[in-house]
Symmetry: C3
Subunit: 681 residues, 3 copies
């Protein structure tokens, strides 16, 4: 997908909730936004109870005034449909539309997201309020983007859901025998003899069925997507030239297949909140941004082309896949039990880390810190302390900085290393009693991404269906589920000359989470030239010495060679002399298998070596450790982002025009925590 | 409130449950009580199923015999209404009176406190059994005190509660706009357009509304108080000369505003169980006792005067506010996972620590250890081992000791340092996602009380509405909620010459838990001459060096001076050179602000310094560390309690008459773990 | 009970689930079973939904083929009734037969064991499917054993259960006064005035009633037993010569009194899964096997004799009590969060540890690893990797080994040391707030068993009702509940010359969990010549020095001597000089009391000393540490099992014929991890 024309090249702003403040405050808000060079705000996310205080009685006057004020101030509006939180009257009127937990607890109004997406009453009400907004604001000049709903991700287990789940399963499996086969219905007497016997996974006596749990996640994703598409279609019909999207929330609990959704949005929008206060925050930031860009690219490939009447969207070919950091926290990293205030400059570096990876700007939750409600200590561009504050001054300075960077929106990130991302593997691993509780899909993929990042390589994520042939190196970390078709495409990639690294716990199961028998990793045995006989999950404290001086941890395996050659072996213990890392020539390419978890440094070194052999080049070998280097480029021009995450000054010997100062430099000198963007020579 | 005439000057005894034992045991009980000099026992707390075994069929015979036996033995009776545990037949008959959790689970009979205080059937039944008891025993000569219910504190979330909550909110807010404003209804689409839409806080999708949660706690407190007052009024009508009270249970889960309740009782009664086995047990004891005395004083000021017909109560002006330690554990400190047997002498020291702070005696749960039911290993004056035991011998010796101390009941504690206690701040902090999970209201107040205690100062607690002008020094630890009116009273106090120390996280929000914007601590900025821009919650392990050699932990802030002068600064790191402790002259007084948490020793030193400057004198500077010194006094006489909490002998150079020996001494020599009470010269 | 004739002398095999695999796999299975010398498989455990896919419509064809194939391969069949998991249609049709948790959540189909054993519809359906199986396969030549249900242990709290519980209580107590007395109904107003007021223990406000909780566990055990007996009786009626059993699952949550059940089975069958990866796995194995043998012996004494028509069962007098390890994991130890693959040889040693203690073989869960469902990573004799694997090769070698050991089935274990096992004490301790959360019945009994095992002694467990007089030494660890009758039998045992060691927290309560007053341990005070005044639960980190150089931990007591003499004393602290271990001559015997927990080594030394004094001899004093020695014997012959649990070779100077090689040896040389079975000279 391409960047929609009506939006700023680099957006800057955030969620704006004027309904929480008296009208006297609004002009001040617009004035301060202008001071900070804010050019886009998201309005109305949770405003349903104010927009429709009684069933069918709308109150748009206040919103009219807000949009007029913003327009007069030159600020564009992402107008939200408020469907993530129905008003109290709705819940009272439609108790069957309140969600039910797996334990059978029907939740009560009193927070957000308290609805069942499968309840007909909810879906009707959601369409109605969206249509009313479209009708009211279709011609408003401030309207630049439709922001449907907020952070889709709620699961319900009620009877409406049971009906919808059965219908989804019928569509997927056609007849019950195929479902029983896919779900291994013979295990624990779960063979269904009628569709009506099927239930969503609810509280039960003991372990649930992993295939059922996996399909339920997939169903929820599709069900929520259907709810989104209903709104998108009516908005698009009203305003063919206004792009439509929804903001993705990330997290292990989220039942949304973002790659698949990306075919249905006009731009990918993510909310990103790192969960570590240390350097992990920066690595999570890069990880999320690379995911978002990769989802956008996936959506671009798989989305229906030419779907709008006017053709206004999706035509511009510059700047790479269209995505935007829609929410982030200006001055807050929320770690378990603690809100960490960002050090001066860190908000700016995080914002640039996204922009460097293709984000069309940096948006925040939120503009003005709430004074009431459940999130009073969440941060904001304009903090409780008001504009006379370090935090607001940094917001102003970030606005000015983004202003000077506008040309980079033409460039895109080009990666020759790819890491597989597979939400089905993630969900299946969550649904299964694994040999080790330390085995965590996200941790495995993050470790691979982090190692490549530390080796200086730009990384794309690939999902089943993406083109693999363009990459020099492909890494499959814990790709638990692999379909026959996907396995075959991976084989083709290697046969055609690709380099591949597969880690332990990949290729174990088919797309229904059924283990492939005959030795692990069933789907990839021949490609890798090995057969894994046994798993050896390790105690968290255990370190297994390896023949190359590094150590394995978390996991080990009994690997039998059936064509591969050993590269690194285990030393001592039960696995003494057995292969830990193997290499297998296959067609014109090479397939490596790693049967244990390496520490960060040796993992980085291994991936650096494999990437080099495969012919992939790092972004900026001259960048010292702790300085993140990311490049956006067009065919003609390239921009290098340099972010100094260390607390001492750093110098990088690269030459070009420093966009922040306009000066040409041969060495970039970065203050502690500082950053630079270079139009390279 | 004043000490009721019909009660012993110093009460000694505890809960007595004759219904758990065969009648043959009762005379032995009375004989052993006499041996221990027990003079008051609480009877009938959980006896409802024995008093009314079938609906409306009463069985008082056994209780008649028990009260007669006690009276014959010269033992007074606190007669309990048994309404904390309805009988099984009641729950069967009125399933709608069983409580419902926030998750919607209707609880089942099988423990205690399994009722909904808002259920009409429960309230009716409670009044009936109380009236039946009043009718039966109004003239019994043993009756000295009505003990209504037991440890009010149960919360329910059922529909009866919903109705009552709405009615309470209508009374509080009048119209819905004011409620929506107070609760920030615009946040997350929670704007109500009809009263019937409001629910108690129940299980919901995500975070609840802090203002709603806070008001619900306040409602529950008032609702339980109403249930208490119903019983009190009918008991008072039957026996105008018999005082009425209920025993307070303490704890973070308790939805009771004890200061407010204290206007409605004839004496404050607390149950106190420390939760640490080490020296924390002694500090928690002093904390609870100071709270109880302060609640009684608050009740005395705010209670309706002259409410009884006969005037028998509340007329005696000696001895300070009327309060009593109603329950404590003779030989048990319950720490998580372990019952710690008290070391010899410790029960005595704990009892005297209460009496020293104004308690009119020491009462225990319970007289005789249960042999069945849920609390068989709870301790008792008469343990399972029987009277031939160390534990019972210490009970006998404590009885004798209290006997010799009777004159102290004329004295009261006089403090010139006050610490603010505010249950709304506590509840609001529990209801809010705070910047740090380590931020704990009770811990903050305890730290201040502990520091003052270690500095040797007697402490009063003050609640909004109390007179502040009598104190030399006032400390506000984490006073999160401050109303405009309260803030103004605090300002007046300082302007008139008072000394004030405010700690971080005070004055943040108004009485509806809405943050005051413009810089923290909103309500007290001008008084303190500072503006706090940002919070910096710290990792539990972090220590920030301060310019005076101490260290800050848990919390730090970016403090801007707007009139105050810095006293201590942060050293190094992001806050290098910025103020940690500030001083601001205001009117005739001084207002200090502390933006971090000090360790115990420097906190003690700081408070000692401030108290000295303010003109407050410690109780007994000669007392060595580990020897607690507390004074009760009248205008003419003073009594000094000295409790040696160390395990070595200690000497204190003070002179007076030792009440335990009757001898005049110039140096008090305390054995390890021993104590003395001195009528001072 | 005696070993049934129709079964192999030593069984080898496991659960076989052909319904999870296509029919083409079945002949391969039989061929591989033959290769491994498998002689018994359990079929049909979870096959209900395949056997009765629609209500009343049976599909036995597939099972016919499986049984024919197995019979043709010479493999015997334990045919399971599939009643542990009703089919989905059953749950849909009978929602009232779905179980309800204590919180009131009605569980949903989707796992296993999702039924209420008290629901009439369930009981009817279970009888019907069992009868249909009996009818179909009564004459099948492969049928060797009826395996009723699977791992009885599910608890429900619904109204069906309430009715059944009341009926059980009426039968137990006759009238309500006795129940109120037993349950201490006067505590917390729980006095019942009508049977209909009684409920199962459900979610309630606070602590439940321990006596009610204990009786509920007993009721559940009896209710499940009744469900078993219904099936057993109809199977026995159909096939009088085929033995019937059910497999016991072990664990603290299991509401089954296995000793009591053992009177109703034709052989005791246990499932055993150790929960520690280290040496604890071996000690848990020995513990479980000794329990199983002891239950079988108890069942033999208490079961109804001559109950079958044909007399085929229970007549063979050789080989000791009939029991069988019915399930174990071939290649897996499941510890919290990790599946530990067994080291080579460990499966064999675990199997022999059971056979050495009397098991008539070694059975496994399961034959072939599942490819789908909730337990895909559970282990199997035939792993995912297939027959070309170390794991399967060890399975083949174990089959060959067992084949060579067949003669040992005539021998039985003879122990002269007994440890008390009392499920009521366990349940009561779980139901009670104990003085220390570290006080754990299973841990106490395990510690005694472990100490005796390390001292080289074979151990029987005894349950109330077993003959005590045959033992030289009896150990009562934490025997919390002791009835008057049991106490009297213990006294008789000592008076007649027995040696007894009682540990702390024994004899505290009567059979209703009511504490015996007058000093602990109430029921055994006179026998022990002591009176315990107070408990002193210790912090986990505390170590109390004792006069013999060892240390006490976890627990200490104030012990007063009333006839006993002190043997070891506490040193220092509050208990300085007071007795820790006492000795009391009583009649012709000696009764010791230990008031603290010793570390493993001194506990082993103490028990070794007491056993020696009592005249008990260890199995094989020549066995070095880490080599487990267990003897089975008949009057004429004895077999010594030697299991080397160390990772170095070991030599044991004993002579006899090595059954594995057929050679006579004077010294047994064991490789690391190896084992030997010797027919002793």
């Amino acid at each position: 997908m391409r960047w929609p024309k009506g939006l700023p090249g680099l957006c800057y702003g955030g969620d704006y909730n004027p309904e929480q403040w008296p009208a006297e405050v609004w002009p001040t808000d617009v004035e301060l936004m202008r001071r900070a060079r804010v050019n886009l705000v998201t309005v109305g996310v949770f405003a349903w109870s104010r927009l429709e205080p009684q069933p069918g009685r709308y109150d748009f006057d206040w919103l009219d005034r807000v949009l007029d004020l913003l327009h007069d101030g030159g600020i564009r509006v992402a107008l939200a449909t408020p469907t993530a939180s129905p008003p109290p009257w709705f819940s009272l009127r439609h108790p069957d539309a309140l969600p039910v937990t797996a334990d059978g607890v029907r939740l009560s109004h009193g927070s957000r997201d308290t609805y069942c997406a499968s309840a007909p009453a909810y879906r009707t009400a959601a369409r109605e309020i969206a249509a009313a907004l479209a009708d009211r604001y279709r011609d408003h000049p401030a309207l630049a983007l439709w922001h449907v709903h907020n952070e889709y991700g709620s699961t319900c287990h009620c009877e409406h859901v049971a009906v919808a789940f059965r219908s989804w399963l019928r569509a997927r499996y056609g007849d019950l025998d195929r479902l029983n086969e896919a779900w291994t219905g013979s295990f624990w007497s779960q063979h269904y003899s009628g569709w009506e016997q099927i239930r969503p996974p609810r509280a039960t006596r003991y372990l649930g069925n992993p295939s059922q749990l996996l399909d339920f996640r997939r169903f929820v994703s599709d069900e929520l997507l259907e709810a989104y598409v209903e709104q998108r279609d009516l908005l698009r019909a009203a305003t063919p030239d206004v792009p439509v999207t929804t903001n993705y929330v990330l997290g292990g609990w989220v039942p949304v297949d973002h790659a698949r959704w990306s075919a249905e949005v006009d731009l990918v929008a993510i909310d990103h909140y790192p969960a570590e206060a240390g350097p992990g925050a920066e690595e999570q930031t890069g990880f999320a941004a690379d995911l978002a860009r990769s989802w956008a690219r996936h959506g671009q490939r798989t989305g229906r082309a030419g779907r709008t009447a006017s053709g206004a969207t999706n035509r511009d070919t510059s700047g790479g896949p269209a995505w935007l950091l829609m929410e982030s926290a200006p001055n807050l990293i929320l770690t378990p039990g603690r809100m960490h205030a960002k050090e001066p400059g860190r908000m700016t570096r995080h914002s640039l880390a996204h922009v460097a990876r293709g984000s069309r700007g940096a948006m925040f939750f939120q503009w003005r810190a709430s004074r009431g409600g459940a999130e009073v200590f969440h941060s904001a561009l304009l903090p409780h302390a008001g504009p006379d504050s370090r935090a607001f001054r940094e917001a102003v300075s970030l606005g000015a900085l983004l202003d000077r960077l506008s040309e980079v929106d033409a460039g895109t990130v080009r990666a020759s290393v790819a890491v597989a991302w597979d939400v089905s593997s993630w969900w299946a691993m969550q649904a299964t009693v694994l040999p080790s509780a330390q085995l965590d899909y996200l941790a495995e993929v993050s470790a691979a991404h982090r190692a490549l990042g530390r080796a200086g390589h730009p990384v794309d994520f690939v999902t089943d269906g993406d083109d693999l042939f363009g990459y020099a190196l492909l890494v499959l970390p814990a790709l638990y589920l692999v379909s026959d078709r996907y396995a075959s495409r991976i084989r083709d990639y290697v046969a055609a000359g690709g380099h591949l690294l597969v880690s332990y716990f990949s290729g174990i199961a088919d797309e229904h989470a059924r283990v492939r028998v005959g030795g692990y990793p069933g789907a990839l045995r021949d490609l890798l030239g090995i057969r894994v006989e046994e798993f050896h999950p390790l105690d968290p404290a255990t370190r297994l010495p390896l023949s190359d001086g590094s150590t394995g941890r978390l996991w080990a395996e009994t690997v039998r060679l059936t064509g591969a050659t050993p590269s690194v072996s285990y030393l001592g213990g039960l696995l003494d002399g057995q292969p830990a890392l193997t290499r297998h020539g296959y067609g014109d390419g090479v397939a490596w298998y790693l049967s244990t978890r390496l520490d960060d440094d040796p993992y980085r070194d291994l991936l650096a070596r494999l990437a080099e052999t495969a012919g992939a080049a790092p972004t900026c070998p001259a960048a010292p450790a702790g300085v993140e280097a990311v490049r956006r480029s067009t065919a003609e021009t390239s921009w290098l982002f340099l972010l100094n995450h260390t607390d001492s000054p750093q110098a990088v010997p690269v030459s070009g025009v420093d966009l922040l100062t306009g000066a040409h430099v041969d060495i970039v000198r970065l203050p502690a925590g500082g950053c630079a963007v270079l139009r390279e020579d």
